[in-house]
């Protein structure tokens, strides 16, 4: 329980207290400030875990209730686009980690290029995601009356799908694909929203970095944004197998 090192340490001597400009007045030292900020960021990520937790709970329950519908609906997702997107997001996590390293070691060029790379990879991810959403829109697989959700395709699969081992679903089970797509859109939508917010922050950071920012050792923002970006990556690491890879069998 005791994290006594957390206790603020008094400045050893008076006059020793020349603080950098970015140190906030209520912190004793820069170490204390940095630790505090990153601890705060982690607590925020905990709330994010629980935020997605509700969706995962719903997913796990319905997956067990309506397994055939979830399998059939999952097979309409594009496995390749999903895999490529996973790769893209992992790469963007890597470039972000490199960005943090560049900031830590005061490599201005490296930081800018890492951020640009992360931004581009994020955009690629969202682009591919858009393509997938668009396909769902055309197939009337977006849930709800507004988008004229239609599950007939699962009752009468196309000849091509039948050949790959798809089985026709009874109409009442086919209707449950709407639950799958509800969760698919809720989960990937929330994830995409986090990506968009992340990219807005990235752009701001890039602007600051290209004007010589983050080179004075005060890189708390870069580090904590890194945590956020990796967290978004982790969410996708779980979404990908859960949504795309149900009973795929070659």
């Amino acid at each position: 329980m005791s994290d006594s090192h957390a206790v603020a340490v008094v400045g050893h001597e008076e006059g020793h207290s020349e603080h950098p400009a970015y140190q906030r007045h209520h912190f004793v030292s820069m170490e204390q400030q940095n630790e505090t900020v990153s601890f705060g960021m982690w607590l925020f990520l905990l709330t994010e875990i629980m935020f997605f937790g509700g969706l995962f709970t719903a997913y796990l329950i319905y997956r067990n209730w309506y397994f055939p519908a979830f399998v059939a609906a999952s097979h309409t997702l594009n496995l390749w686009e999903g895999t490529i997107n996973t790769f893209v997001l992992i790469s963007s996590s890597f470039t972000m980690a490199m960005g943090v390293w560049c900031a830590e070691t005061k490599r201005s060029k490296g930081l800018i290029w890492s951020l640009i790379g992360t931004l581009i990879l994020g955009a690629v991810f969202l682009g591919i995601k858009y393509d997938e959403y668009h396909e769902k829109y055309e197939l009337h697989h977006i849930p709800g009356e507004i988008f004229h959700f239609n599950s007939q395709g699962f009752v009468h699969p196309s000849a091509e799908a039948l050949k790959t081992g798809e089985k026709p679903l009874a109409p009442d089970m086919a209707a449950k694909t709407e639950v799958y797509f509800s969760l698919y859109f809720a989960m990937t939508g929330m994830h995409a929203l986090h990506m968009v917010i992340g990219m807005v922050l990235l752009s701001g950071m890039l602007w600051k970095a290209s004007h010589g920012g983050y080179m004075n050792g005060h890189i708390a923002f870069v580090e904590n944004f890194g945590l956020y970006w990796h967290f978004v990556d982790i969410v996708w690491i779980f979404l990908f197998p859960l949504l795309y890879l149900i009973s795929r069998h070659a």
């Binding site: 209520h26 505090t36 709407e178």
Partner: protein, 553 residues
């Protein structure tokens, strides 16, 4: 040599010219402040505003229930009134009441810090609260909501044609305000403690807030995502909770109560923190079993996550789950009882005085005990089936929330009023108010236990004739209770100008907040305090006083 102790003579005390209230002037200096004390004051004002709106709605409910017919308002108006009463009181009053006002004001001072860890996020949380509150008011004015504060699906997603979306989003926003408050507290208590302020020298107020903050940070997001799903279901028509599409309304209950049960502890734990401070101060004794009380807060927070399904015993959860959740619910009674018993032992052989905060604290102990024990009836699955959705439930949670939490809130406001404003409240009339509140409260809510036992269901505007006597009692009590709440409002405002000057430590209490001037400086401490004394060490305080006197003499 930095001493944090200064005890000027009470009689010659003056309000210090320089303090957090006078440091800067102008509206903008308040609206853009990063000072936790000013934000606490802003919160206090806005929370009081919503409390009185919620209270007025409660008055309307009680008036309607004076007679068996639904004559004051139509049934659907009644539905909207009790829904708004619930929403405002739960999300805009009880959840932020003690943490956002007293907690905000005191936690940094109690641990010897200059401010909370994230002052800007603290201010942001107040603005989010205002946005949430504003949206709730908008929803209320433009037609109201009639789903009950629980937003039960499929009522809220399909059958209600009222402002569910606005209210849902309002609570979403207010929820983030609460998350940020909790996040700030946890980080502050971990990272900002003054030298020597170890975990077991923390006042119990801080322990209680720490535990409540864990619940805020980990519970609230689940409510947020649940409300997002409800809104999506109403707007687009996704099928997560909709039984016609294969969704499960009970899943909504699971997710909703995963937050809303711990939310009960978010509301009550900070109140328990207040009571620990008050009981100790006015019986001049260290809290009996300090460690046990501290850990019982954390235990309540942890157990709080394991018991949510006891709200769902009659909703079709499995019999096995009922058994498990019923058992776990009983476990929460243990740390709660530890607190009550330890406060009682603190009183034992203490030198007790009956100032207003102490009267409220006694009220808390009695009413919370009744509220908690009736909770055991409801946690037992057998009696729960008879009692749930009757007035027994209403009485139970009002004993805990109003009898417990509001008493604690008023106790804390009176206790720290001299510190926040530099002036004393008038003692005699406030003692009267405390007694009036206690009497009014019992008249209002005790008859409701009987009503519930007799089988009167909650949430109906009309009821059979045989329930009228008890309902009249209840309404009469509510009017006494209303007076009990208006009195402090009036004399506390009066005391801002005419109250006696308090001095630094009018209660001769321990704790860092009493060692600094009242009202405090913006930066709280001129030098960072070094804590050597134990918590609640009244002998240390006596020695300091002698030391001070010999110094002066």
């Amino acid at each position: 040599m930095s001493t944090i102790v200064s005890l000027p003579d009470q009689a010659t005390a003056r309000i210090p010219k320089r303090n957090y209230l006078t440091n800067e002037n102008g509206l903008l200096s308040w609206l853009l402040t990063g000072d936790h004390k000013r934000i606490a004051v802003l919160y206090l004002i806005s929370i009081t505003f919503f409390f009185f709106i919620g209270g007025a709605l409660a008055g309307m409910i009680r008036l309607e229930l004076l007679t068996p017919q639904s004559d004051l308002m139509a049934s659907d108006t009644y539905n909207k009134v009790f829904t708004m009463h619930g929403v405002i009181m739960v999300f805009l009053f009880l959840v932020p009441s003690v943490p956002a006002t007293l907690g905000n004001f005191l936690i940094p001072i109690m641990i010897g810090a200059k401010d909370l860890a994230f002052p800007k996020i603290n201010l942001l949380s107040w603005y989010l609260y205002l946005v949430g509150g504003g949206m709730t008011l908008t929803a209320m004015i433009t037609g109201g909501v009639d789903t009950g504060w629980t937003f039960t699906t499929p009522m809220s997603t399909h059958f209600s044609n009222t402002n569910v979306i606005t209210t849902g989003l309002a609570i979403f926003v207010a929820g983030f305000s609460s998350i940020f408050t909790g996040l700030n507290f946890i980080v502050t208590i971990h990272r900002m403690r003054a030298p020597g302020m170890t975990w077991f020298k923390l006042p119990l107020f801080c322990w209680a807030h720490y535990a409540a903050s864990i619940l805020m940070v980990l519970g609230t997001p689940v409510l947020a995502i649940t409300l997002v799903l409800v809104v999506l279901e109403r707007t687009i028509g996704i099928g997560v909770f909709d039984p016609t599409k294969g969704g499960d309304p009970i899943l909504f209950q699971h997710l909703f109560w995963f937050y809303s049960h711990p939310a009960v502890y978010i509301m009550i734990l900070p109140g328990m923190g207040v009571i620990s401070e008050v009981i100790s101060t006015f019986s001049r004794k260290r809290v009996f079993g300090y460690t046990a009380v501290a850990f019982s807060s954390v235990a309540i927070a942890v157990f709080g996550f394991f018991v949510w399904a006891h709200h769902m015993f009659i909703m079709g959860v499995s019999n096995y789950a009922v058994l498990v959740f019923s058992l776990l619910t009983m476990l929460v009674a243990v740390p709660s009882a530890i607190k009550i018993f330890n406060w009682a032992f603190t009183l034992y052989k203490g030198s007790i005085t009956f100032e207003t905060p102490m009267l409220y604290a006694f009220g808390f102990m009695g009413l919370f005990t009744i509220g908690g024990l009736t909770g055991v009836f409801l946690g037992s699955s057998g009696t729960d089936i008879h009692l749930t959705e009757t007035y027994f439930i209403v009485a139970h949670f009002h004993f805990v929330m109003v009898g417990g939490m509001l008493m604690a809130f008023l106790s804390g406001v009176h206790f720290w009023w001299p510190k926040m404003t530099g002036r004393m409240y008038p003692e005699k009339i406030s003692q009267l108010a405390a007694v009036v509140t206690f009497i009014g409260f019992n008249f209002t809510f005790f008859p409701q236990f009987l009503l519930g036992m007799l089988g009167m269901p909650r949430r109906y505007a009309a009821y059979p004739h045989e329930f009228q006597v008890l309902n009249v009692f209840s309404t009469a009590g509510a009017s006494i209770l209303g007076v009990g709440y208006l009195l402090p409002m009036i004399y506390l405002i009066w005391s801002l100008k005419y109250g006696e000057v308090a001095g630094n430590n009018p209660w001769q209490a321990t704790g860092l907040e009493w060692q600094i001037q009242s009202p405090p400086l913006t930066e709280n401490f001129t030098t960072i305090p070094i804590v050597t004394q134990d918590v609640y060490d009244y002998e240390w305080l006596e020695r300091q006083k002698e030391h001070e006197v010999t110094h002066v003499g």
